[in-house]
Amino acid sequence: MLKHLFKMIWNKKKQNSLLIVEILLSFMVIFAVFSFGLNSYSNYAKPMGIDYEHVWAINYNNTLETKNADSLKLFYQGLVRNIKAMPQVLDASITSANIPFSNSHMSTGIKYKGEQISQINNFWVDENYPHTLNLKLLAGRWYNKADHVPGQQIIVINNVLKERLFGNADAIGKIFGNYDDKNKIKIIGVVDNIKFDGDYQAPAKAMYALYDTSAYHWLSKILVKVSPDADAAFESRLYKFMANSLKNSNIEIEHLSNKLTAYNKFTLVPLIILSIVAAFLIINVALGIFGVLWYNINKRRGEIGLRRAVGASGNSVSYQLVNEAMILATLSLIIGSFFAVQFPLLNVFDLPSSVYVIAMLLSIIFIYILVLVCSLYPGKQAAAIYPAVALHEE
């Protein structure tokens, strides 16, 4: 039976090849949309790693005249102390500009066992950072006041980097080299992953370094954890306080939750546009397949009438036509899968291969359903052909 159907498809290969290419292309489109969507969803399902509600970020720039590191340190530590003393503030932390959900990124590379690992997000933080963001410590410890000693080569890394370097082994106390392998740095703690690029992006490798006093020249963000009842009136007080403390600086207060919404758009908008375009293309293709199959049946009335006349049931006729369409779909899917498999094999776009595999399976099911739906009605029509009428036309 199957062999026979293949033969019939082969006999009309010119016409069928176009259909195959069309189904193949729709498969690729669906595969792209599903991969993108699934990847975004699987990232969305992962925990954020921090509590971003009721965390504000104050942007400032250091405009103090003094170049003396000690007086800068005194000033900024006093500033943080004063902010923390405000009734609605729970904690505050001065950090480098790459706070979560900001467009600012800093990255560096490290050397471990002769291997260069690059593109590690580099955060400059102080001892209040985890409490301000409610960042969980997985192993070891965070920095404390005693670590503010010049020349300390210690670091806290996140779980992604830990797994990249050590797998399941313990990371505490291990040592790696900095980007040019001149300094040896000891790991003192491992923290939870933060999705600092928003809900839909996978957490990346990161390390958190304690800044020394000279960094106050260029640090430009204060993260402030406030109590839930902090309102615009309080924000305006905090703003005035900052503006008066740093007279020559431009001050802005942002809410991390708003920044997250804005950042998520970078993923969501392309996904929505892609889905709309794909939906339109698929409707187009579905209509096309439907039309071509329908026409084919009208052209093959004689053949169908003959089959009915020699005793084939209506069901078996429509079964044959649906099967033919499914075989066409299978042929395209075999070619399509060949291309799709290259994505996880060659590790294109750096997505996890599970995403590609699931996306591929879903796309295959989707295409089968699409072809089935498009061929059911023409098949049913074929079943309704009366042999007497059809043969009479010949």
């Binding site: 016409q15 176009l18 259909l19 290419v21 069309e22 292309l25 729709s26 489109v29 720039n61 405009t63 309102d231 615009a232 009136a233 924000e235 305006s236 703003y239 005035k240 503006a243 008066n244 020559n248 600086s249 431009n250 001050i251 802005e252 207060i253 375009v277 339109f280 293309l281 409707i283 187009n284 293709v285 209509l287 096309g288 039309g291 071509v292 329908w294 026409y295 084919n296 052209k299």
Partner: protein, 410 residues
């Protein structure tokens, strides 16, 4: 002859309404998609509000230092602009403005985010903002570092409420300082990021000392205006010569790059010197367009072939009476073009509707898409391309049809 083809085409279209629907659906939706995309790009790139003198302006907004292992790119310092760009001979005016920064202000316990930009006096002469009220910041006001500001229409609405009274003379507080409003201008969409801002302040009121940073990397950009269009290439050359002679600021660097760009070059500059942003943008757009068009075209080819086979008897008869393959193919392509243009017209109507909804929803504030002559030209070209692409192969198949089999099929 053409009239005849037209009649036949309409008759064929009406015969199989379902196929006609599929074809028209495919064409019109593809065209709508492409038209909205073109309108968007056209708006972002070709809309010349407020820089109406774009054809004799060059934009200098970036400087890049490159070493063996490191690179650093950023906007320029005021010092750099003042010492190198302002001393150029060709420009008649040099507009200087900072990148936009944001700050907050709190009005009646309501928070307003304000984007601000520092501008020099020439800025208001190089650019032609539409003033709804008041007038630009004058040279004297800039020199005296007066706390005056030009605000956008949207900011006026947000800060002072919806009342019709003039905002000129009122005070707006930003960054804990009160500025007196001297003018209100028509708002810009954020996509024209080089000039976008909510409030424009005199450069002399900037909180940091302008000439304090004597390096290259800062937060300012310049627009240089030539006397006439012929001077633009010379101006470009003059700037390139200046950059070639720039002292390199440190041992870690070996090259310094900066360009005086036309608006579009500047808009798509990726920050990488080795590859042009223009190439990236063009490839991305054409790949997208091709991809969007490929499936509907294939679909159309499929449907067209089916249709031709349906008409095999007609073709057989015409061939038997002496019509050449060429005539038949020509007829079919014309028929297909007629179909495409019909779909195109529906597409244009659809895209007007879609654009209306996009504008209405204000996805990007102040970005109003519209159907203009350029966009329509693109639509026309797309239609021809579409019609030919989907018509040629079926026509070729048709002209190959054997007379005997075609006639026998009946």
């Amino acid at each position: 002859m053409l009239k005849n083809y037209f009649k036949i085409a309409i008759a064929v279209l009406r015969r199989r309404k379902f196929f006609t629907f599929i074809s028209l659906f495919g064409i019109s939706f593809t065209l709508t998609l492409l038209l909205v995309m073109t309108a968007f790009i056209d708006k972002v790139i070709n809309d010349n509000y407020p820089d109406k003198k774009r054809d004799r302006s060059l934009y200098i907004s970036k400087i890049e230092l490159r070493g063996k292992e490191s690179m650093n790119a950023s906007a320029l310092t005021y010092y750099y602009i003042n010492h190198y760009i302002a001393k150029m001979k060709m420009p008649v005016k040099v507009a200087i403005s900072s990148g936009y920064g944001s700050t907050n202000t709190y009005v009646n316990n309501r928070k307003i985010v304000i984007n601000y930009k520092y501008t020099n006096a020439d800025f208001w002469e190089v650019l032609d903002f539409d003033f709804i009220e008041g007038k630009p910041i004058s040279k004297q006001q800039t020199d005296n570092a007066e706390r005056v500001t030009v605000i956008s229409e949207d900011m006026k609405k947000e800060y002072f409420g919806d009342d019709k009274s003039s905002a000129v003379g009122k005070y707006i507080e930003a960054d804990n300082i009160k500025y007196k409003v001297c003018g209100v201008v028509k708002s810009l969409p954020i996509t024209s990021y080089i000039l976008y801002s909510d409030i424009y302040l005199p450069i002399t009121t900037s909180k940091t000392k302008l000439e304090a940073d004597k390096g290259y990397m800062g937060n300012y950009g310049a627009i240089v205006l030539a006397k006439n269009m012929d001077d633009v290439p010379k101006m470009k050359k003059e700037y390139a010569d200046i950059v070639a002679k720039l002292p390199i600021p440190g041992k870690e660097w070996d090259h310094v790059y900066s360009h005086a760009d036309s608006y579009i070059e500047g808009y798509v500059r990726t920050g990488s010197e080795t590859s042009s942003g223009m190439v990236y943008a063009l490839t991305a757009i054409s790949l997208f367009a091709l991809f969007v068009m490929l499936l509907p075209t294939l679909n159309l080819v499929n449907v067209n072939i089916t249709r031709i086979m349906e008409r095999s008897s007609e073709i057989g008869v015409r061939k038997a009476f002496g019509a050449s393959s060429k005539t038949l193919a020509y007829q079919f392509i014309v028929e297909n073009l007629i179909l495409t243009f019909l779909g195109g017209m529906i597409g244009v109507v659809l895209s007007v509707v879609v654009m209306y909804f996009i504008n209405d929803a204000q996805f990007i504030a102040n970005l109003n898409l519209s159907l203009n002559f350029t966009v329509l030209c693109y639509a026309f070209l797309t239609c021809i391309f579409f019609g030919l692409l989907s018509g040629v192969y079926p026509a070729w198949r048709m002209s190959k049809l054997n007379i005997v089999t075609a006639l026998k099929a009946q």
